[in-house]
């Protein structure tokens, strides 16, 4: 009996060309268009990501070190290890090494080292996004501050503010550099002179790597997910509208007269929605698998998230059906399909990646079912673990439970429109 309800629902949907077009063809077309049209922008294939950094030296670092050693009191003797540590911990050398040896940095920042005479010309030309000016005696003063508790020297940074994004990136790098520099100074002040070199950039660097360890997501993958979660929402509206037709034409009365409880009927809407959602996921991901070669390392997580999101779709369909039945009109499902899906899609990041917007919008997006699902899919694509998915699972489970509860409470127990 329950299977008859589901079979009927599947037949009806598959025999409706307009629904097939909306639920299966349109998302495929949009995935193709968006992947190719917005792909290069998303993947950063533009010149703005190459940052020109000029380092202007007013001094010779080696001469400065030698000057510092020569000026040391006779009772202070530096062994070879300490001398080596001093050379390795000099801030300017560290920065240059970091930028030149790090492959990711090399792709992002192009470093040019120049002498003091070029400063005025460099600042005027606008060829550089950032200019780092190292004053004379900077290295010696830095070592004096470190070993003899003298005042810390400063350096100048000039940013080309017209290049908003690149300036922001460089500010971040300089901040990181300054953090390192200050930390080392403080450690030396605490008397951990020898050990400070052990606090190499390597350790902090590894932390940063772990943040970046989530792989980049190509636009085709992003739009496969974003369009899938958006178009899955339409299933809820479609099935709720269909169920209202059953009420309007008294088919629902016939179902009740066949001694089927109204809750069983509502449950059949939920299960049908879940099956359709999973079918839609299967169709869209199979398409992307063949066209964009999308695949996942962790299929179990992908399946778990798909099932969870499909349950939420079922819960939305049930809620919309309940409201339609209560209000005796298809207004709720129509409003959902024509307006609310678009709003959810915006906050959920279906049109573009909302992580560049305000944190508030990002948080709101995470509370939408499609936003939570999209974020979850992206984490899976970036080889995220079950732990990474816990917030998404929590949001989706809570939404499913809450929406279903309201739907069952609202759904009328009798039929009859007179």
């Amino acid at each position: 009996m329950f299977i008859a309800l589901i079979k009927k629902q599947i037949k009806l949907l598959l025999r409706s060309p307009s629904e097939i077009l909306t639920l299966f063809v349109m998302p495929i077309v949009l995935i193709l268009i968006l992947s190719y049209a917005l792909g290069p922008l998303m993947e950063g294939d533009s010149e703005m990501t190459i940052i020109e950094l000029a380092i202007i030296h007013h001094e010779d670092e080696e001469e400065q070190i030698q000057g510092f050693i020569d000026a040391l009191p006779p009772n202070v003797v530096l062994d070879q290890k300490t001398s080596g540590n001093i050379e390795n911990s000099l801030p300017v050398s560290m920065l240059v090494k970091e930028l030149e040896n790090n492959n990711e940095m090399k792709e992002l920042i192009h470093v040019t080292q120049l002498d003091a005479k070029s400063l005025a010309e460099v600042k005027k030309s606008g060829d550089y996004d950032v200019v780092l000016e190292i004053p004379s005696n900077f290295t010696k003063e830095y070592l004096d501050a470190k070993f003899f508790d003298q005042e810390k020297p400063a350096f100048n940074v000039y940013l080309n503010e017209s290049e908003q994004i690149t300036s922001t990136i460089v500010k971040e790098i300089i901040d990181y550099f300054q953090q390192q520099y200050t930390l080392q100074s403080e450690l030396s002040e605490s008397g951990v002179i020898i050990d400070h070199t052990a606090l190499s950039s390597q350790k902090i660097h590894s932390t940063i790597r772990s943040v970046d360890s989530l792989e980049e997501v190509p636009s085709s993958v992003y739009y496969t997910f974003s369009m899938t979660v958006m178009f899955m929402l339409f299933i809820a509206g479609t099935l709720a509208s269909q169920s209202f037709i059953e009420k309007n034409t008294h088919i629902f009365d016939r179902i009740l007269l066949a001694r089927i409880h109204s809750s069983t009927y509502l449950l059949s809407i939920i299960v049908s929605s879940i099956l359709f959602s999973l079918l839609q996921v299967f169709v869209l991901f199979t398409f992307s698998y063949f066209v964009f070669n999308i695949s996942f390392a962790n299929w179990e997580l992908f399946l778990l998230l798909s099932i969870l999101f499909s349950i939420v779709i079922g819960a939305i369909a049930a809620l919309l059906s309940s409201i339609n039945y209560r209000s005796n009109s298809a207004g709720a499902s129509n409003l959902f399909s024509t307006a609310i899906v678009a709003i959810l899609a915006f906050f959920g990041g279906s049109y573009f990646n909302i992580s560049s917007l305000s944190p508030f919008i990002v948080n709101v997006g995470m509370l939408t079912p499609n936003g939570a699902a999209l974020d979850g899919y992206l984490k899976i694509a970036q080889n995220g673990s079950l732990n990474d998915l816990l917030p998404n699972i929590t949001v989706l489970s809570s939404l499913a439970f809450l929406l279903m509860l309201i739907a069952f409470l609202l759904f009328p127990k009798r039929g009859g429109i007179v």
Partner: protein
């Protein structure tokens, strides 16, 4: 037996049904007659447990079913006024679906589908989508679905609305045969007097939410047993002629539709000289006149002062 006891239904401030009492025994066809808006469909919806009454009770074999409608639903088939079918399924698929949700065994369902398709005359086109059927075919399938599980009581709410005369005749014959062959009790609501007269043993006449008359056809017509109905056809419509007719104290229930006029007159009363003199006075040519025994339509007119299909 199904009984309806003092059944009332209020929608906000509107009383749709007021203190209705009726019953139906196994094997009989009962007509529920009344104009649109009389409260027939609301009564049917309460009787079939689809809406709760504001007051009163529905009994099956003297037992109230309001709290547990399942027992009544098990012996009931309902043909709603609307086409309650899936347009994108075939006739056979519709029957299969509604049979499955009735939990009919597969074998029995297959047999019943063939029988029902034949009874409703759709055996030649069972695999056609319902949306491609004519209005009459849809109506017949609408009935077929309700009788698929062989209910003891079949409630038919205006099953012939908006269909061609041929399909209408087919439906009426099907209903009659069903009742005769399977002893299925039928409650038939309509505002077509002739359908109710043709089918029903007993009749309830409803108006403005109340039962205004009930009994067998003969009992109801006996309300007008001392009168005859006269149908008059004129060459053309004349307002002054009708006004003059209305002034005649010997005539009652005068109902005029263009050049056709109906009135009742006491049996044995010689109305012809009066009629001819009024024709002459108003320069009206009398085409024909016919004296008949009263119909249910005349009874309804007599009881309410209105025609059924006004």
């Amino acid at each position: 037996m199904i009984e309806v006891v003092n059944l009332s239904k209020n929608f906000k401030r509107v009383t749709a049904v007021e203190q209705v009492n009726l019953y139906i025994e196994p094997g009989e066809i009962v007509g529920l007659l009344g104009p649109n808006g009389a409260g027939k469909s609301t009564t049917i919806a309460m009787l079939s447990t689809l809406i709760s009454p504001t007051d009163g009770d529905v009994l099956l074999n003297h037992k109230s079913i309001l709290k547990n409608p399942s027992e009544l639903r098990g012996v009931l088939g309902v043909v709603p006024q609307e086409i309650a079918l899936y347009e994108d399924l075939t006739a056979k698929e519709n029957l299969q679906f509604f049979g499955s949700i009735q939990k009919m065994p597969k074998q029995l369902l297959a047999e019943r589908i063939d029988i029902v398709l034949e009874q409703i005359g759709l055996q030649d086109e069972p695999k056609k989508l319902v949306k491609h059927y004519s209005g009459g075919m849809k109506r017949r399938l609408n009935i077929g679905v309700a009788m698929l599980h062989e209910p003891k009581y079949l409630i038919m709410d205006e099953p012939t609305v908006g269909i061609d005369p041929q399909s209408r005749n087919h439906i009426l014959k099907t209903v009659k045969t069903l009742n005769e062959n399977s002893n299925m009790a039928i409650i038939y609501t309509s505002h077509y007097m002739e359908e109710v007269e043709f089918l029903c043993n007993r009749i309830y006449i409803m108006d403005k939410g109340k039962i205004i008359a009930s009994g067998t056809k003969e009992e109801i017509k006996a309300v007008l047993s001392s009168e005859n109905t006269v149908h008059v056809k004129l060459e053309f419509h004349s307002k002054s002629f009708i006004n003059d007719l209305m002034d005649q104290p010997m005539l009652s229930n005068i109902n005029a539709k263009e050049a056709e006029i109906t009135f009742t007159v006491a049996k044995g009363m010689d109305f012809l000289p009066m009629l001819l003199s009024l024709c002459e006075k108003n320069n009206v040519i009398l085409k024909s006149f016919q004296v008949e025994e009263p119909t249910l339509e005349d009874v309804f007119l007599h009881l309410t002062g209105r025609a059924l299909r006004n």
